[in-house]
């Protein structure tokens, strides 16, 4: 079976700085994979590279991003645009800034549906209302006529989730969709993502720094640090038997209900040392690979 999504040896550089240094990962059809790491680890950059949203000064310097076996980076612009938003969708990080402030919700969902699915204006609006019902928005017709500033942050995030699943995508990239929300809303959003991915049969790449979230909804996970994959596998395995000191440090920093929170500690020098030597070993491996 072809993986839905494959990244092989992806390297991204901003100017002279390498932000991704040869990342590989796979997402199988219907799989929910967590992509974790602290800020600056490069996890958001990976998502951006997939969606063609790299900042102007950043560039992919090596590697392959394949969607259902086809190389996204080598694909013609027009062809890639047909995939984006339809087969590959995004749940963005900040619901407050991710909707166009001067367009009604209905127009925003409707345009997306019509852009990819060739629907009439009326069918598109009807479909938009159905989508809002799917994300548990009551009175969908009323909400369609509202502007983004007239609904709450949690509701906006649900609208964005509805838009992500609107065209039955094979892959949804969720870019820290819960970070900007408060805790009670977070849980609802996670449940929604879970419900919609099952209904639409989508795989999800869930980008987050929150191991608690990963534990809740991801079957497998990949740990990213300083632009490299440190560890990956079944979530249960990685979380209970972390092979890597960095993952252990991340785990220790995650607050849990079953034990008092530990104070946040700076990363111990010994760990930095270890990571450093590891990074160099990996460089050697990469050099051998390239040769």
């Amino acid at each position: 079976m072809t993986a839905t999504f494959t990244v092989e040896g992806l390297k991204v550089a901003i100017g002279a700085a390498n932000v991704l240094r040869g990342v590989s990962l796979e997402v199988q059809p219907g799989e929910v994979r967590g992509l974790v790491g602290e800020s600056g680890a490069g996890k958001s950059m990976l998502g951006r590279a997939v969606l063609g949203l790299l900042p102007a000064n950043a560039a992919v310097t090596a590697g392959r991003i394949a969607f259902e076996g086809r190389d996204l980076l080598a694909m013609a612009e027009a062809e890639r645009r047909r995939l984006l938003g339809r087969r590959i969708a995004l749940i963005p990080q900040d619901p407050m800034t991710s909707l166009n402030p001067v367009k009604r919700i209905g127009a925003q969902i409707g345009n997306l549906l019509r852009h990819h699915l060739d629907l009439s204006k009326r069918t598109a609006l009807a479909r938009a209302a159905e989508l809002l019902t799917e994300v548990a928005i009551r009175e969908p017709e009323r909400v369609l006529a509202l502007y983004p500033h007239e609904i709450s942050g949690g509701m906006r995030q649900r609208v964005l989730i509805a838009m992500a699943f609107a065209c039955d995508p094979a892959l949804v990239i969720a870019d820290e969709p819960t970070t900007a929300l408060d805790v009670t809303v977070q849980r609802q959003v996670l449940q929604l993502v879970e419900r919609l991915r099952l209904r639409h049969g989508s795989a999800v790449l869930f980008v987050t720094h929150d191991l608690g979230v990963v534990a809740k909804i991801c079957r497998s996970m990949t740990v990213l640090h300083a632009g490299r994959v440190l560890e990956e596998g079944e979530t249960a395995n990685v979380l209970t038997r972390p092979r890597h000191a960095y993952t252990r440090a991340l785990l220790a920093a995650t607050p849990r209900a079953d034990r008092p929170a530990e104070a946040l500690r700076p990363v111990p020098p010994a760990l930095i040392e270890q990571l450093w030597s590891e990074a160099h070993r990996l460089d050697d491996v990469a050099a051998v690979d390239a040769a």
Partner: protein, 335 residues
């Protein structure tokens, strides 16, 4: 609430106009310069001069003169012009349409040019050719409208004599129109020969007025487009498979329009003020040209009427801009 803000602005209109009236009135009277001296024929007697003075109320104390004038203005009477010897209101109503048509035409040209330049600039964003657009905008902006008027007059009126350089329309054309809005009426009535003859005369002054304003629109709009394009919703639109031109037009433009209108709309007053000289340069019969004559002739009633007219136009423009911004931005409509 937004309506509250609008009412507040409306309430401020009368005091502002009153302030303008006071300043003009006082300015004209405390400084030297005698209108009567300019209209009397040589050899007039002291008694004649005294009678003229009394006729125009200039023998009264200033406060008295002001009160009389204000009372007249409130009842729609702007007094009689000293130099042209007609009612000021009649003169204004006869000439104002010419200026309004010129300013409207110039605004339309400026908006079209400005939007095209801004879109060209934003499409070239980050490329080397972007500075050509920026440089061109800077040049247009640095040279004011009356210099453009002189340059255009030299280029297209004299060196390459394509267009007439004076007047509003050829005097031999039989207009036979009901209003003084020649251009608007002739277009509405379908008399395109007249409309064409009018445009023939208006195009140079209108372009002269339009160029600096177009540059301003272009600069504001381009900066707003660039800012809006960097916002999350525009970035996400790319991740949804929309093409860049599509995003610029449908997602970014409606947002960029709001600051552009808010900041640029007010500057239409500059264009309006520019008509004074541009009309003079092209001998165009609007209120701007008339204003200069009025000043040179020390025609107090006419100057007062003209300045008030400009002030009303300025204030009205500001209010219209506010309303348009409110219409464009859903966030301002209620809360």
């Amino acid at each position: 609430m937004r309506w509250g803000e609008l009412i507040r602005r409306l309430v401020l209109v009368p005091p502002t106009l009153f302030g303008v009236a006071v300043i003009v009135f006082v300015l004209l009277r405390v400084v030297p310069g005698d209108p009567i001296a300019m209209m009397i024929p040589p050899g007039a007697s002291e008694a004649d001069i005294g009678r003229l003075r009394a006729l125009y109320g200039l023998d009264q104390p200033i406060l008295q003169q002001f009160a009389t004038w204000l009372g007249q203005v409130a009842s729609g009477d702007f007094g009689r012009s000293i130099s042209v010897r007609q009612r000021v209101l009649e003169l204004l109503l006869a000439r104002l349409p010419a200026t309004i048509e010129l300013a409207l035409l110039a605004t339309m040209i400026a908006v079209v040019l400005g939007v095209v330049a801004a879109l060209a600039g934003i499409l070239l964003r980050g490329r080397r050719a972007e500075w050509i657009v920026d440089g061109g905008i800077g040049m247009l902006l640095a040279i004011p409208d009356f210099l453009w008027a002189l340059i255009l007059l030299l280029l297209f009126g004299v060196l390459i004599p394509l267009l007439p350089i004076s007047g509003r329309i050829d005097p031999e054309i039989d207009l036979n129109l009901r209003s003084n809005f020649y251009l608007i009426e002739s277009v509405l009535a379908g008399r395109f020969d007249i409309a064409f003859a009018l445009l023939h005369h208006m195009i140079l002054p209108a372009v002269a007025l339009a160029l600096p304003f177009a540059a301003l629109v272009a600069r504001l709009l381009k900066a707003s487009l660039a800012e809006a394009e960097d916002q999350d919703y525009a970035q996400i639109a790319r991740a949804r498979g929309y093409s860049r031109p599509n995003i610029l037009l449908h997602e970014v433009f409606p947002n960029a329009l709001i600051p552009t209108v808010a900041l640029g709309g007010v500057q239409v007053t500059l264009l309006l003020g520019g008509t004074v000289l541009v009309e003079r340069i092209f001998s165009y019969e609007g209120i701007g040209n008339m204003a200069i004559d009025a000043v040179i002739n020390r025609d107090f009633p006419l100057i007062q009427g003209l300045v008030l007219t400009f002030a009303v136009l300025f204030i009205a423009l500001n209010l219209v801009v506010d309303l348009v911004v409110t219409m464009l931005d859903p966030r301002l409509r209620y809360g």
